[in-house]
């Protein structure tokens, strides 16, 4: 399978990365090089094989469902580019 320019633009939008007209053909070439490299996986018969979900056989650890941390909103927002009263600021989302 290979991707055309339209698909490159669609993927970029899904990935929330703005691309310029000049970048599209380069990205298309690079993505197709990778897709053609992974094509060889189709040689393998994977019928009846379970997809891996956990590389080490272990039961996932669980902890008590309780509040164990927190209470410092100023630390949470300290690296944000724009904040007000310990909230993150974004452009208006709803009218």
């Amino acid at each position: 399978m290979s991707v055309d320019e339209k698909t490159v633009r669609r993927i970029a939008h899904l990935a929330r990365i703005a691309v310029t007209d000049e970048e599209v053909p380069h990205l298309q070439g690079e993505l197709n090089a990778i897709l053609s490299f992974v094509e060889q996986l189709n040689e393998v018969n994977v019928e009846g094989v379970e997809p891996m979900t956990s590389v080490t056989p272990m039961v996932m650890k669980k902890r008590q469902d309780g509040v164990t941390d927190g209470g410092y909103p100023e630390k949470i927002v300290q690296n944000a580019p724009a904040t007000e009263d310990n909230f993150f600021l974004v452009p208006k989302v709803v009218e």
Binding site: A18, V38, N42, T56
Partner: protein, 504 residues
């Protein structure tokens, strides 16, 4: 006396204990060496004041007889580990001046044991790369030069000539250890990012079993593959450092609740009676005869030390790299979704929220990272998920099964080359076709896909005088056998003579 920067961790520990020198003297020697080595671009952030304050505290603890396992040992930290109050960027513009209000479990463990932080080390952006060329801070210069090479540093610290890459993604870690700019460094490995740069720089690097080391507070690339480990100058030093980095951690659900073994004690075990497998599928077309010969030599060293060498088969080896380039980008596209210009890092304003996301991410991510996020987005998108992602995860099951079958035959560890070639020059690979660069990880990536431990140990030099490494792959949670066998290789090969400081 040996220069303080040329000691091993074990020697420095002994010297500190015997009060031959102080932690402050040891740290100052490294601070001075780092200052003179800026041309290598190994450190992206030097923290000399913090280092000297930590060293002073170490000297006080040593005086009181309260020294920890790594007391006063100066280390470099890959910029992927979040360090409280010290800017951590994953060598990406998108994190800007991100200043973590928390400490990663790995670094917390090191400081609890008394280690000293010299600074943050350069790396490929978000650990995506095999040459350290994708870093937003520019490439790292390898301290190694080909024989007869004209690479030099001028009076202002500018590099002249085409220099070699240190490998990646932990390129700053490997270069700093090889150039004596720290006694050891933290590193991470998703497809070979500890073992390949270690092999390129004549250093030792171990990727432990998935789950041995906590991932908490380490910037995520591909969560089912990422593991942290050390890069050091000797096998013993790697054993010492991993013993401190590893721990159970309630903050990481994939980190196992197993006690950390005494790795250092394991190095003197030897390999007598062990069965070492040589996988025939690793004999790839076009492999250099030097690597082939070194591999053979490695097997002979282990045989001479009492191991039984057997040929084994890992039939799905060739599919590990293509499957990796589906699984890793898929996980990366999900992990890196958090960089949106809202909560931290770089922000480019837009006409609405989506425009803000798209512009911030376009400006903040480098080319390789964008490429991988887009591949990951594609293979997870509706209509392609089964054909790519599910198939790759099935391949992963088969790759792991290959190893399990070999271990079930009584094989204790597997010996392979660490890389298909010695270090290459900057700009030499991957400029046209990204896959050319990816092929560097062909021998290491299988290990991540199966979650197993792997160690790279320097084993010799090629005709151009550049180091080559061998890799040992172990059973899950049996890093001890890797340290034992790695020590045999180190003893047989002799320690590699690291380059003189031509850059200083």
């Amino acid at each position: 006396m040996t220069e303080l920067t040329h000691l091993t961790i074990a020697e420095a520990r002994d010297g500190l204990k015997a009060k031959t020198f102080s932690a402050t003297e040891l740290t100052q020697a490294h601070v001075d060496a780092i200052e003179k080595a800026r041309a290598l671009n190994a450190y992206v952030l030097e923290t000399p004041d913090k280092a000297l304050a930590m060293a002073k505290a170490s000297d006080e603890r040593i005086a009181k007889g309260e020294a920890g396992a790594l007391e006063g040992i100066p280390l470099g930290i890959k910029d992927l580990f979040c360090t409280e109050g010290v800017v951590s960027t994953a060598s990406s513009k998108i994190l800007g001046n991100f200043n973590p209000p928390y400490e990663s479990t790995v670094t917390r463990n090191l400081w609890n044991d008394g280690a000293v932080m010299l600074g943050k080390l350069n790396m490929d952006e978000f650990a995506m790369g095999s040459s350290n060329e994708t870093s937003a801070f520019g490439p790292v210069v390898s301290p190694w030069r080909r024989e007869g090479s004209n690479v030099s540093a001028d009076a202002s610290g500018q590099i002249e000539g085409t220099h070699l890459v240190p490998g990646g993604s932990s390129g700053g870690s490997a270069a700093a250890v090889a150039a004596h700019l720290c006694l050891g460094a933290t590193a991470t490995d998703t497809g070979g990012s500890i073992r390949q740069p270690a092999a390129f720089t004549g250093t030792v690097g171990i990727k432990p079993t998935y789950g041995r080391v906590s991932r908490w507070g380490t910037v995520a690339f591909a969560s089912s593959l990422d593991q942290a480990g050390p890069i050091t100058r000797t096998v013993r030093d790697s054993a010492i450092m991993l013993g401190s980095m590893a721990s159970p951690d309630p903050k990481d659900t994939t980190c196992v609740d197993l006690p950390v073994p005494d790795f250092e004690a394991a190095i003197s075990r030897g390999v007598k009676g062990l069965k070492i497998g040589i996988p025939k599928e690793y004999r790839i077309d076009g492999m250099s005869p030097e690597i082939e010969q070194l591999w053979h030599q490695g097997a002979e060293w282990l045989r001479a030390a009492g191991a039984e060498i057997v040929e084994v088969s890992l039939p799905h080896t060739k599919y590990a790299l293509p499957a990796y380039y589906i699984v890793a980008p898929a996980e990366a596209s999900s992990n890196l979704a958090r960089y949106d210009g809202v909560r931290y890092g770089l922000r480019e304003n837009g006409r609405d929220i989506v425009d803000l996301y798209e512009k911030s991410r376009a400006a903040g991510f480098g080319r390789e990272v964008k490429r991988r996020i887009m591949i990951g987005t594609y293979v997870l998108s509706a209509g392609y998920y089964d054909a790519y992602y599910v198939r790759a995860q099935k391949l992963r099951t088969l790759i792991k099964r290959d190893f399990e079958e070999v271990y079930a035959q009584g094989v204790h560890a597997i010996l392979t080359p660490a890389t298909p070639s010695a270090a290459f020059g900057i700009g030499e690979k991957g400029s046209g076709d990204p896959v050319e660069m990816y092929l560097n990880d062909i021998f290491t990536v299988t290990v991540n896909m199966a979650g197993l431990p792997g160690i790279a140990v320097p084993a010799g030099l090629d005709a151009q005088g550049l180091p080559l490494g061998l890799q040992l792959i172990g059973r899950a949670f049996d890093e001890e056998t890797l340290f034992a066998a790695g020590q045999v290789i180190e003893d047989s090969a002799g320690r590699i003579k690291l380059p003189q400081a031509w850059w200083a």
